[in-house]
């Protein structure tokens, strides 16, 4: 069959790429940027949660926090391995930044990326005790769930497969968080504390969805690396937050 199709048209029509060899240059750059943002966020998330293990009030909570710490590092490694197939020096990459580094709790830089790595800005803020860690994990876990519905559809098949493996485990992290938050919110004192933590993290997690009408979204959509605009994903997350936290009196 000789009917060769322009690769841009192929991607615009929902085509899938399957190896580093058949990826165009611009696509390659955006794909690597997307992957490194995920890897850096998972590593920073894992590093942040490692500290939360010692906030845990009981064994069950300690196990949940350990599991989240472990699995987020594992998810980072899986995506980093895909980057490695494009030439990334994976060993150097993982030691390049201080993943546990955090700014002051009241620092304000919106969604801007600061510091050397590409983690989402929300992962620059420190966790402030067990209730705070659980609240952040629930809000960010729900956001990750929404964002993974996009990521499991990326047009680079080897990466989409990794995200499809990761998605159910990330969903479980959010569930573990919700179970913890329910226990916390059962008492008045815990509920007040959780409400303050949710109020702190809510705008910071919302910022991870990016701005409405983003120019980069157009580029990514053309490549089949995005399918749903930022504002739609954000609205979906807001709906989930209301649905899950409303009954607990936390929204």
């Amino acid at each position: 069959m000789s009917d060769v199709m322009n690769i841009d048209d192929y991607l615009a029509q929902g085509g899938v790429l399957t190896s580093p060899d058949n990826v165009p240059a611009r696509y390659r750059g955006e794909l690597l940027r997307l992957m490194s943002s995920f890897v850096d966020s998972e590593l920073a998330g894992s590093a942040g949660f490692a500290g939360a293990i010692n906030f845990a009030p009981g064994i069950k909570e300690r196990i949940a926090a350990s599991r989240i710490t472990l699995e987020k590092a594992d998810h980072a490694e899986r995506v980093l391995n895909v980057m490695g197939s494009f030439g990334t020096d994976t060993r150097r990459y993982q030691t390049q930044h201080d993943w546990a580094a955090r700014v002051a709790r009241d620092a304000d830089f919106g969604a801007a990326r600061t510091g050397g790595d590409m983690r989402l800005s929300v992962f620059r803020y420190p966790l402030d005790g067990w209730t705070d860690a659980v609240a952040m994990n629930v809000l960010m876990g729900l956001a990750t769930g929404v964002q993974l519905t996009e990521l499991t559809r990326v047009s680079y098949a080897p990466l989409a497969e990794v995200f499809r493996e990761i998605a159910p485990r990330e969903a479980r992290h959010a569930e573990l968080g919700l179970e913890g938050l329910e226990r916390i919110a059962a008492a008045d004192e815990g509920r007040a504390e959780a409400r303050a933590a949710v109020a702190y993290w809510h705008p910071r997690v919302a910022a991870t969805f990016g701005v409405a009408g983003s120019a980069r979204y157009g580029t990514l959509a053309r490549f089949g690396l995005r399918h749903t605009p930022n504002e739609t994903l954000l609205a979906r997350w807001e709906g989930l937050v209301a649905e899950k936290l409303g009954p607990l009196g936390l929204n």
Partner: protein, 358 residues
């Protein structure tokens, strides 16, 4: 970083007028590295007039055949495939990276699955590997193959497929679709498009029983088939793709001759292309990387680590010369083709033209 190993060419068999099947043997110490999973491919490299070319070809052997075989169809103007078809002979050695690719699902000897494969032209090579392996290793599974070609004489592995049908009686069905040759049934003539896939699903293939579908062929065929499979309720995770060789970028051109370098310290006129738009700006010769200069000029250039490790910021020097401070990501052949890590690049020439689009 994956490494190349020497493989011995054991046999070169002409399969059709413009395709050969090459049997390869790794050195004893490399045998472990060349264990493959059905559906994977090998990446070869060879020097053509001082320029390194890399090409990937799917393995067409089953995992139980005890050898490595790839099918190479000659592409018009393709240096590597023409060389393989016309010059490669038993006794030669060829350099290849260990098998790669994820065009497979894990085997399960206990399962009784129905696999569906679509292959266009030489897209048959990885599918054949899967067919052979699955039929041998999953005694209760069956495979339906839809195989598109221009004409009978261009069908690769036609006899081998017939033999497999006889060997695994009732477990392998092959539907040949020929573009330019009329067949008894109209449905099997012409190109595979949305309409044809629809008709195949209506009359010939019970798509509801399909566990996994494999598609390897030209882009329009993959799009049409994937859309039809999704319409019939298959999830993305049930559809495996391998993009046809036509998707590989063309021959890498040699780096443009650099201008005479001028004294360090003075400025450079940089011209940067990104997303089809070109912008020219002045940048210092020292102290600011090409990436930082592009970002400062409001170009949304891709980058991540900024320390020469991840390769997100790779671009191509079209004219002029730069010096890379650190490079942990690009291989020599990429550098020779003019690629640089823009986060580590500092201009050496008065004029510099780079592109993120090539």
């Amino acid at each position: 970083m994956a490494r190349f190993h020497s493989l011995e060419v054991v046999d070169v068999r002409r399969e059709t007028r413009d395709a050969v099947v090459v049997t390869l043997k790794p050195r004893p110490e490399d045998e472990g590295a060349f264990d493959f999973i059905q559906g994977q491919y090998l990446t070869f490299r060879r020097d053509f007039d001082g320029e390194e070319l890399r090409r990937s070809y799917s393995i067409c052997a089953g995992t139980d055949e005890g050898c490595l075989k790839v099918g190479i169809k000659r592409v018009d103007g393709g240096a590597f495939s023409t060389w393989a078809n016309e010059n490669l002979a038993a006794g030669d050695t060829i350099e290849a990276m260990p098998p790669m690719g994820k065009f497979f699902v894990p085997l399960d000897p206990q399962s009784d699955r129905h696999y569906l494969g679509f292959a266009g032209g030489s897209g048959i090579t990885p599918v054949l590997s899967i067919v052979k392996t699955v039929l041998a290793r999953e005694p209760k599974s069956r495979f339906t193959l839809v195989y598109a070609n221009r004409q009978i004489s261009s069908i690769m592995f036609r006899e081998e497929l017939e033999d497999l049908k006889n060997l695994y009686l009732g477990r392998l069905a092959v539907l040949h679709v020929l573009e330019t040759e009329a067949q008894e049934i109209d449905l099997f003539t012409g190109r595979i498009d949305a309409e044809k896939v629809q008709a195949l699903f209506a009359h010939w293939i019970d798509v509801n029983s399909v566990g996994t579908a494999f598609i390897c062929g030209p882009e329009p065929m993959m799009l049409a088939i994937a859309a039809a499979l999704r319409n019939h309720g298959l999830a993305d995770s049930q559809i495996k793709f391998e993009l046809f060789a036509s998707g590989q970028p063309g021959r890498a051109r040699a780096k443009a001759v650099s201008r005479v370098a001028v004294e360090p310290g003075s400025g450079t006129e940089a011209t940067v292309t990104l997303d089809g738009a070109t912008r020219t700006f002045l940048m210092p010769r020292q102290g600011q990387s090409l990436l930082d200069a592009a970002l400062a000029a409001n170009l949304d250039a891709p980058y991540s680590c900024k320390v020469g490790v991840c390769s997100t910021c790779r671009c191509k020097v079209v004219e002029g010369e730069v010096e890379m401070a650190v490079n942990h990501a690009l291989e020599d052949y990429e550098v020779r083709a003019g690629y640089v890590l823009s986060c580590q690049s500092f201009p050496l020439s008065e004029k510099l033209v780079v592109s993120y689009d090539e």
